[in-house]
Amino acid sequence: MIFGYHLLSVVIWLPIIFGLLVLATGNDRNAHLARVIALVGAILSFLVTIPLYTGFDRMTSAMQFVVREDWIVRFNIHYHLGIDGISVLFVLLNSFFTPLVVIAGWKVIEKRVAQYMAAFLIMSGLVNGVFASLDAMLFYVFWEAMLIPMFIIIGVWGGPNRVYAALKFFLYTLMGSLLMLVALLYLYQQSGGSFAILDFHRMPMPSLNAQILVFIAFFMAFSVKVPMFPVHTWLPDAHVEAPTGGSVVLAAIMLKVGAYGFIRFSMPIAPDASHYLAPVMIALSLIAVVYIGLVALTQADMKKLVAYSSISHMGFVTLGFFIFNAYGMEGALLQMISHGFVAGALFLCIGVLYDRVHSRQIVDYGGVANKMPVFAAFFMLFAMANSGLPGTSGFVGEFMVIMGAVKANFWYAFAAASTLIFGAAYTLWMYKRVIFGAVANDHVAHLHDIGTREIIVFSLLAISVLGMGLYPLPFADIMHASVNDLLVHLATPKVLN
C-alpha cells in the first residue's frame, strides 16, 4: 500500500488538488495545459482508487481503510473515513468516470476550459468524500459542497434555459439537505453527542414516531437526489440544460449518492420506520418505474428521454432496497452501478450527436448509421443495455430486483417487470428514429464518424457494460458481506414492544 493509512484521504483530496492546479492555469490562453493537467489528475485519481479494490477484504462487513482524526472537537466531529463493500463500488465508479468526462469535454468545451475541468475534478473528490465519510457532519459537508461545482457547471456551460435549471437543481437539493441537517442534529443529541454514522446505526430508537420523523427528514434529502417520483421534476430540466459532462456526472454519480443515502442513513438508523413506510416507498418506486417509463415514451428530446429513463431505472433501485431481501438489495446495488455505466454512456452518445448537429430533438435526426457506423454500433450496445438485454449489465440488476420482488409480492414483480417492455420500447424506438432509415437532412448528411478520442471513451464503457453483464461476480462478490450484515441489521427491530 503506497499511501497506507491515508489512502482514502488521497482518493478524496488528489482530484481536488489537481482541480485547484487546473484553476491556477488561468484564462483560456492556457487551455491546452489545463486539459492536460486535468487528464493527468483524473487518471491518477482513478489509479489511486485501485488499491481500494485489490486490497479489499471481502470476508468482513466492517469498515476498511479507516482514517480517524479529530476535526471539530467541540462538537465531537471527526475526520472519519472508511468504506465497506457497498461504498467501495461507488468510489470506484465515480473515479472511473472522471477521466471519461475530462476526455469527453476535451474539444467541445472552448470557453473557460480551466474552470470547467477544475469543477469536475473538485466535484469528483467531493463525491468520493460523500461515499467515504463515516462521520455524519463530514458527510454533510461533502454532500452540500458538491452542489456548488454542479451548480456552476450547469449554469455556465449549459443550454439556453440553464439558469432556471441550475437554480432549480440547487434549491431542490438544498431543501432536502437542510431537513437532513435537522435530523442529524436530532440524532446527535439522542446519541449523547456523537456524529459517527455507525453510532447512529447502533443507537436505540425505541419510539416509532421519532424513527418515522427521522426517516422522513432523510427521505426529503435522498429522494430529491435519487430522484423519486413526486420530487423528480428537477432532473429532466437539469439534464437538458447541462453540458454533456454535467449530464454524465449527474446520471452516473449524483443519482447514486441519493440511493446510497438510503442504505447508509435512512434504513439502518430507522429500521422500523423503513419497514413501516416500505409500502409507500414501494408504491413511489413502482410509480417511477411504470409511469415515468410511459412519460419517457412520449419525449421528443433525446436527453429528456434518457433523463426520464434514469428516473425509471432508479425506481428499480429503491424498489430493491425496500423489499428487504438479498436479491433485491444486491440487485439494486448492481443496478446502480450498471445504470451509471449505461446512462453515462447514453448521455455521451447524445453529446456526440449534439456536438455535431446542435440539436437534441429526435426529429432532427434519421439515418445516422449511414454516416456514423462505428458510433451507431456503440450506441446500439448502450441502447440494448438500457432496455435490459441479457448479456449486458442492465439485465443483471433488473433481473435480480424482479426476483427479489417476486419473493416479496407477485404484483410488485409484475409491475416492475413491465419496465422490460417500456424500457425496450422507448429506448429502441428512439434508436430507430435517430439511427436507422434514410438520411433525413443536410445536417445528418454532413456528419463524420467519431474519432479516436471518442472511441476510447466508448470502448471503456462498452467493456464495462459487457463485462458486468457477462460476469457480474466481481461486483457482486465484494458487496456480499456488507449487504448481508445490513439485512440482518434491518431485520432487528429497534422499537421495543
Binding site: I72, R74, E144, L181
Partner: protein, 482 residues
C-alpha cells in the same frame, strides 16, 4: 503606582481616547489631501489597542470604578475583533472615500470615537456605562452617515437614523428606569441578585424588560423595529454602511449579553419568548423581502435583518451553548459582511457606485479571482458548507434544538432556504451572465490583498472552524461564571 496598575483593564480605552484627541489636533496640521499620515496614525492606534488588550489580558473577571466597568474574556475577544473589523473597514474604504473627497480627519476621528463607544459598551457592567457607550457609538455613526453633506440620500438616511435611533434610546432608557425602580440598582450584577433573591415588583420589571427588548431590537434591526435598516444602508455612503453593518453588531451582541443574560437571566421565560417572535419575524421578513431587491446594499440590509434573526435564535435558547453560538454567529457575520461591502467598494470607481446587483453581471469574465471571492462570501452567507457561514448556522441550530425548540429550528431552516435564493442569484449574475461593461477593474493592492484574505478566511474557517468556535464558547462561559 498601585492605582495605575489597578487600572490596567481600561488601558486600551484610555489609550484610544488619548490617540483620538492627538489625531484630531494633528490632523489640522496635515495638509496632504490623501491624509496618509492620519490614516497611518489611526491604524497604529488600533494596533496599539490590540497589543494593550492582549497584554493586559488576565484570567477571571475584573471590575473597575464601582462595578461600572468589567473586563472578562468575552470583552477582550470582542474588543480584539472590533479593532480588526474597524481596521479592515478603513483599508477597504480608503480609496472609495478618497475618490469622493470624504477621507477626512473628521471621518477617521469619528470612526475611532465609535470604536471607543463600542469598547465601552462591550465592557459595561452598569446600565449607565452601557448607555454611555451606546450613545457615543450612535452619535458618531449619525455624524458619519451625514458626512456626505451634498448628497440628499445620505442626509435623508442620517435623519432617519438619528430620529429612529433617538427613539430607540428613549425606549431603552425608559425600560432601564423601570428596572431601576423595581430593583433599586443600575449595576448589572446587583440587579441579577435582586431579581433572584429579592422580591421586586414583577409587573414593573417585566414592563421594563419589554421596553429594553424593544430598544435592543431597534439597535439590532430586528423586525418589527427594522424600518430604518434598509434606508440607512442604502442611503449612506458604502463605507459608512459597512461600518454600521459590521463592528457595531459585535458590540450589540455584548449589549444583549450584558443586559439580558447577565442582569436578567432569571427573567428568561419572559425575554426568550419575545426574542423568539423577533427572531422568526426577522428571518421571515428579511429573507423574503431581500428577494425583491435590486440594490445590493438594500439586499444586504434585509439579509442583515435575517442574520440578526438567526443570532437571536442562539440567544433565546438561553443556554451557554446558545450564547456561545450566537457570539460565533456574530463574529462570522461580521467577517462575511466586511467582505460583501468590501466587494461593492472595490467595484466602485470615481463617480460610480457598484451597488446595483447588475453591476456584478459577468464578473467572472472580468476578474475570475474577485468572482471566486464573491462566490465564497455568498455561499457563506447562504450557509452552504464548506464555508464558515454553515457552521454559524449549524451551531445556532444545534443550540436551539438542544433547548427543545424544534419548530423554531425547522422554521429557521426553511427561511434560510428562501434566503439561499437571493445569494444564489448573485452567484448566477457573476458566473452565468455576460458582463454589461468590460471596463477594467482597478483595485488598490492593499484592498485587493485584504479581499483575498477575507474570502479565503471564510473558506479556511469553514474547513477548520473548531478554534474560533471554542474561543467564542469559552469566552461566553468565562464571563458568565460569577
Amino acid at each position: 503606582m498601585n492605582l495605575l496598575a489597578s487600572l490596567s483593564p481600561i488601558y486600551a480605552e484610555f489609550f484610544l481616547l488619548v490617540m483620538v484627541s492627538v489625531i484630531l489636533i494633528a490632523d489640522l496640521f496635515i495638509v496632504n489631501q490623501a491624509k496618509t499620515m492620519t490614516y497611518l496614525l489611526v491604524q497604529a492606534s488600533l494596533l496599539g489597542c490590540s497589543l494593550i488588550t492582549v497584554f493586559t489580558h488576565q484570567a477571571g473577571i475584573a471590575h473597575l470604578f464601582n462595578h461600572m466597568f468589567v473586563d472578562d474574556m468575552m470583552s477582550d475577544v470582542l474588543k480584539l475583533l472590533t479593532y480588526l473589523s474597524v481596521s479592515m473597514m478603513l483599508v477597504y474604504s480608503r480609496s472609495y472615500l478618497l475618490a469622493r473627497g470624504l477621507f477626512t480627519g473628521e471621518f477617521m476621528a469619528l470612526a475611532l470615537f465609535a470604536t471607543l463607544g463600542m469598547m465601552v459598551m462591550i465592557s459595561a457592567s452598569n446600565f449607565l456605562s452601557l448607555y454611555l457607550g451606546l450613545e457615543l457609538l450612535a452619535l458618531s455613526l449619525y455624524a458619519m452617515v451625514a458626512l456626505q453633506r451634498d448628497s440628499a440620500t445620505a442626509t435623508e438616511a442620517a435623519m432617519k437614523y438619528f430620529i429612529l435611533g433617538a427613539m430607540a434610546s428613549g425606549f431603552l432608557l425608559y425600560g432601564m428606569s423601570m428596572v431601576y425602580g423595581a430593583t433599586g440598582s443600575l449595576d448589572i450584577n446587583r440587579i441579577s441578585q435582586v431579581i433572584q433573591h429579592g422580591a421586586p415588583n414583577q409587573t414593573l420589571l417585566v414592563f421594563g424588560l419589554v421596553f429594553i427588548v424593544s430598544g435592543l431590537a431597534f439597535k439590532l434591526g430586528a423586525v418589527p423595529f427594522h424600518m430604518w435598516v434598509p434606508d440607512v444602508y442604502h442611503g449612506a455612503p458604502t463605507a459608512m454602511t459597512m461600518f454600521i453593518g459590521t463592528a457595531p453588531k459585535l458590540a450589540a451582541f455584548a449589549f444583549v449579553m450584558r443586559i439580558l443574560v447577565e442582569s436578567m437571566q432569571p427573567l428568561m421565560i419572559h425575554w426568550s419568548g419575545m426574542l423568539m417572535i423577533l427572531a422568526v419575524m426577522s428571518m421571515a421578513v428579511g429573507n423574503i423581502t431581500a428577494i425583491a431587491q435590486t440594490n445590493l446594499k438594500r439586499m444586504f440590509a434585509y439579509s442583515t435583518i435575517a442574520h440578526m434573526g438567526f443570532l437571536l435564535v442562539g440567544v433565546m435558547s438561553g443556554t451557554i451553548e446558545g450564547y456561545g453560538s450566537a457570539m460565533f454567529y456574530a463574529v462570522v457575520y461580521v467577517l462575511m459582511s466586511l467582505g460583501g461591502f468590501g466587494m461593492i467598494m472595490l467595484m466602485s470607481r470615481e463617480g460610480f457606485e457598484a451597488d446595483n446587483i447588475n453591476d456584478f453581471k459577468g464578473l467572472n469574465q472580468r476578474s475570475p479571482w474577485l468572482a471566486f471571492m464573491m462566490l465564497l462570501l455568498m455561499f457563506s452567507m447562504a450557509g452552504v458548507p464548506p464555508t464558515v457561514g454553515f457552521y454559524a448556522k449549524f451551531s445556532v441550530l444545534n443550540a436551539a434544538l438542544q433547548a427543545g425548540h424544534i419548530q423554531l429550528v425547522i422554521m429557521a431552516v426553511l427561511f434560510s432556504l428562501i434566503g439561499a435564493f437571493y445569494y444564489l442569484r448573485i452567484v448566477k449574475l457573476i458566473y452565468f451572465d455576460a458582463p454589461e461593461s468590460h471596463e477594467k477593474i482597478y483595485i488598490q493592492p492593499d484592498s485587493s490583498l485584504l479581499i483575498s484574505i477575507n474570502g479565503l478566511a471564510v473558506l479556511a474557517l469553514g474547513i477548520l472552524p473548531g478554534t474560533l468556535m471554542s474561543i467564542c464558547a469559552v469566552s461566553v462561559q468565562q464571563s458568565l461564571l460569577h
